[in-house]
Symmetry: D2
């Protein structure tokens, strides 16, 4: 059940890093959407390797082919299947029996009883996020028609932090592999990555993702709260180890009188109708746009911790699973010493999928 997701839409993800192809099937898209492929390509490009110094050189074209669900450039309402062929794979970079620490090599080996396609992480590879970005790009177009806008920035790389920033400004940041507010933050982040890369090591960071104009009322009580729904998606992205909404962990050290976002009535003449809901405004947003698991109309703010990519060239202790012994390993080849910049479009994509799924669901009834 792991690789199928969604309620109002269903995304079925498939593929292995070094197999014939990766891709996904998206069921439940509305008919009649003229897909903006330039926008899709722009999102795919953000995720592609090789966009900044020290990133893995671009080996894959990530060229996708739509197999179904499109007719004359419009969605048909039937499942949209997209496939990305794998090319130029260098299996010899990867050792079969020596498990890479920090990767899914060991857990995949146990789970799939030794039958997993181990090459490059197989089905657990970060490469599988490419079809997710495709799917997210399609649904964020539909969300955009509803006024819902998504964006993200890098809040931190290793020990370099960006400064505080209004959520509303994040989607308007200029396109860049390192979207930040603070002057010089980008360069300092790059230096941190460069230093790690030169040492054969790697670094992680924190991404801040926002969605503006999410309608109040989105989300379901309890098990499908907006936070549950989005966190599950965020944690499905490889290397994510923490998710918080609003002030998140900092709320643990805050007084309730401060954590409660005060409300006021913006338009004194507003009738108390459902439409009048928009008249309720907030003085602050410590709760990240969500109360009781339901959107309150404020910017949805989510921060995501991304661990350092486990691919490092330094010598590490590990095991040879076939020979059943402890060994040392040092990964060869070029590896991205930091995947945070490339993670941003993935996190936005799954956020878009999560919001869209609940958005469609909430339109019914």
């Amino acid at each position: 059940m792991g690789s199928v997701w969604g309620h109002s839409i269903k995304v079925s993800l498939f593929g292995e890093s070094h197999g014939a192809a990766i891709g996904c099937v998206i069921d439940g898209l509305p008919p009649g959407v003229t897909v903006d492929f330039a926008a899709v390509d722009a999102q795919m490009a953000r995720r592609a390797p090789g966009r900044y110094r020290f990133s893995t050189p671009r080996r894959e074209s990530d060229r996708y082919e739509v197999l179904s669900g499109l007719f004359h450039g419009c969605t048909t309402g039937a499942p949209l299947a997209v496939v990305i062929r794998n090319e130029n794979t260098r299996s010899e970079d990867y050792c079969q029996d020596v498990l890479r620490p920090g990767h899914a090599d060991y857990t995949a080996w146990v789970k799939f009883k030794g039958f997993a396609d181990f090459r490059g992480g197989g089905h657990f590879s970060g490469r599988l996020t490419a079809p997710l970005v495709f799917a997210g790009a399609v649904v964020r177009q539909i969300l955009g028609e509803q006024g819902i806008v998504l964006g993200s920035r890098i809040l931190r790389i290793y020990d370099v932090e960006d400064e505080a920033m209004a959520a509303e400004e994040i989607p308007a940041l200029p396109p860049d592999a390192f979207p930040v507010k603070s002057p010089g933050a980008k360069e300092r982040m790059q230096r941190a990555i460069e230093a790690a890369g030169e040492a054969g090591d790697s670094v992680g960071g924190v991404a801040e993702c926002v969605a503006l104009n999410v309608p109040a009322g989105l989300g379901e009580p309890f098990f499908h709260s907006l936070e549950s729904h989005l966190a599950a998606l965020m944690f499905s992205v490889p290397a994510v180890k923490g998710v918080e909404f609003g002030d998140g962990f900092a709320l643990a050290g805050m007084l309730g009188s401060r954590a409660n976002d005060p409300m006021f009535w913006e338009d004194a003449t507003g009738a108390c109708t459902e439409a009048g809901a928009g008249a309720v405004k907030f003085d602050s947003n410590h709760n990240g746009g969500i109360n009781g698991g339901i959107a309150n109309g404020q910017p949805l703010v989510c921060r995501v911790a991304v661990k350092p990519t486990p691919s490092v060239r330094l010598v590490q202790k590990t095991v040879d699973i076939r020979r059943g012994e402890s060994v040392e390993t040092a990964l060869q080849g070029r590896h991205d010493p930091c995947i945070v910049p490339r993670a941003l479009p993935v996190l936005e994509a799954v956020m878009a999928l999560g919001i869209y799924d609940l958005f469609v669901h909430s339109r019914k009834g």
Copy 2:
């Protein structure tokens, strides 16, 4: 879809804080489990109010009745339904039209178009966690028979932190509303709560939840990763605003060479069989027992940020949703100035449900 959860088991939650009853239906339990009701009662007692100074005085008996799925004290394999009658509710404590800041009052009003049972938070009330604790208590008994043990401690209340502690020791902490390691931490936490309560304010904190002996291989790739599955459940608990696994957000500031938990082979004679998986051991547990979304056999470690309870007696700005105007409000009555102690059994319960659901799923095939 919000109040039904699960794949291999299904939990269907119902009820409102001041309605006739709350409860849940659990479908998919195996037949033949002799339910240990003393253990269930012990978990229910941990969640009940009034267990420590400053907590809400106990108003509800939380006495549950099993309506189905049990025969001669054994599960039958058919759905187990449990109901808890609401008694002694004091609706007059709650104002209909003046929305309580920080609660779900406003979002519930928008979502349910003004028809929600607003009394005491209705379906969004923390009271709904009582049936969750019941369900968790039943499945943790089954997990226990597999050697899987759960526990939690309070890592932080407001500005008081407990010290570092081995995950393996947490389930063995003596039963207490404030399970901590550091001598004196309990008293300092209580004082922080007392100070907030006396000021008419409230505080939050961080809980650390662990599960020991979770078998390697548990979890599914991507959308149903162990982290996705557990985080969704954790975020369904009212007041939770952050979830992290292993070192979580701290991994963002760590080098990959340190974040990768080194592996070694414990038993040099071990054959490379599936059963031999147990021979792989780790030197550290920065990843909290999970790699690639799949359990690696180490202790599963999860930290959860709980915001200060939004019920404070201080004057707050808000709106009267019927009259359509800004007003001030100050909650009357007794309210818990900190719900972290009572949240622990709830977080353990949903963790048990999440692990059990994947555990049953992984037994197939």
Copy 3:
């Protein structure tokens, strides 16, 4: 997973025939529906025993209590839970170890490893259809507001058949335990039942269920076709062994030129808009209102074969499962020699649930 159903709504069924209670939780109802309990009671009464000669004397009050999801008589949007207490159960009528032929006694014993509550069929009892009728009554009220009307008639009891009848007339049949068109059919059917009952035997029959004004476009391709969706529900009703749509099995002997329902354009001025869809009309309805699994706007026609109730007083061969030997058995007590009249409201209820689930789903996007 057996006792939870639905996509846009979720119905969670629980209870055993002779346990404490039966009931269900319905999640996903819209807020603001003022439930017409007189209409609910009328449906419940149709299913209750004792409505006609030879039926089991009424032992159960079938009095339901709504535990949640209602506030001031309106649905709140939160799960609606309903419970029906079991009373006056006579467990001594039922033998534990001697399996009743034709019932689920043996299969329940195997499935639940001997732990099932065997009394009166336990969770497999037809009594579990009472909460289904409740759920169906609530959603058919919502469907009624959309103009969708359901009805059914008895097409056959044993060897007595009703005559052909226009689908449109079926919902308008006067309320009766034996809704038929043909004069005298009711009496002949009753005589067939009486004869079987006096002989200690039982008879089955065929019900014809229709839904009018189902909007064209309802249903999903393939796995959730309208026929798949409704048939699965029909087959979940105890004793149902066959389901057909339109001319069903008779289509196997028909030429394509006749089976294809000819279309014509009713309004020559109609523009080719989506709304203009209503301008397409049909000359016949051999396909029962469904093409390619999707509603075409014609009456939805479904016929359901109900086997004779397996409870007969005649001596039958069976086994004693504890002693492990062949035995003979003859059921004691009063049993309904024909459940077809009581099955009608159940079949209409599940049809209503099935249509509503797809209806809500199709309103999205």
Copy 4:
């Protein structure tokens, strides 16, 4: 949600008849299954056109490519994706605006608001059953390792019926497009098809599908009864309009004393253990191997009504949906005057999927 199916496995179907490709993604297969591609090919060949007189000449190669989930010929445990390219499509055979009676043209047009890929029926085409046959062939191999064997025969074509036949013999019928028992039935069926085809008309029929050695206990109560589960799948196959189990509709005219299959204890020494379940045997199989929705260990017997293919060359009344007027149409090109022979492997495939899904589910707990 229409094109994704399953609980323990998930099958995600995609494609349009004249689009780039069709295919499916199968998630949840166990790792380590060495796929027998000769057996897969044999099933695919049974569904391919052109296997008997009057069938559509073979235009499509139905050559499939596995994109993922296989490594060294073994399943990896990750999703298995298969794709079949469409070739040699003749779109000009199909008229866009004139709706073909009996097909899904009109309902697809309404459902998808005119955006459906109408060519050759698009996503509703019978061609989409090719990936289903692939999926079924893989899982029936796994079922075969458990001793579960599937088969089918043609019970009827138009007015030609095969004679009664023991369910146990059906899987052993020699491979043929017309598997029947009665000598000469094949030729009479072919003549009926030929006569229809020469008249520009078409005929339907009834298929009888069986599964042997299905373990007692398979299936879930109520909504996921074995009958519900299988019927939903059967009705997802294009042209199916009726499904019955055991004696099905004939049970409506039978006395209960006859419809109840008598049980006896085969081995007088058998202890009353769960394993001892196999000691219960039946004298007859009127219930088709299912009681209370759960398998009883007897042959599972299901009959499926297939309507005449709606593609006929005779002139028919219909509408031009763009111009909004009544027109006449006569389909050009070669069309299969009877799809029953090609439906057999499809029905077996979905039966295999349905049994497998419940089989895996029942292995848990």
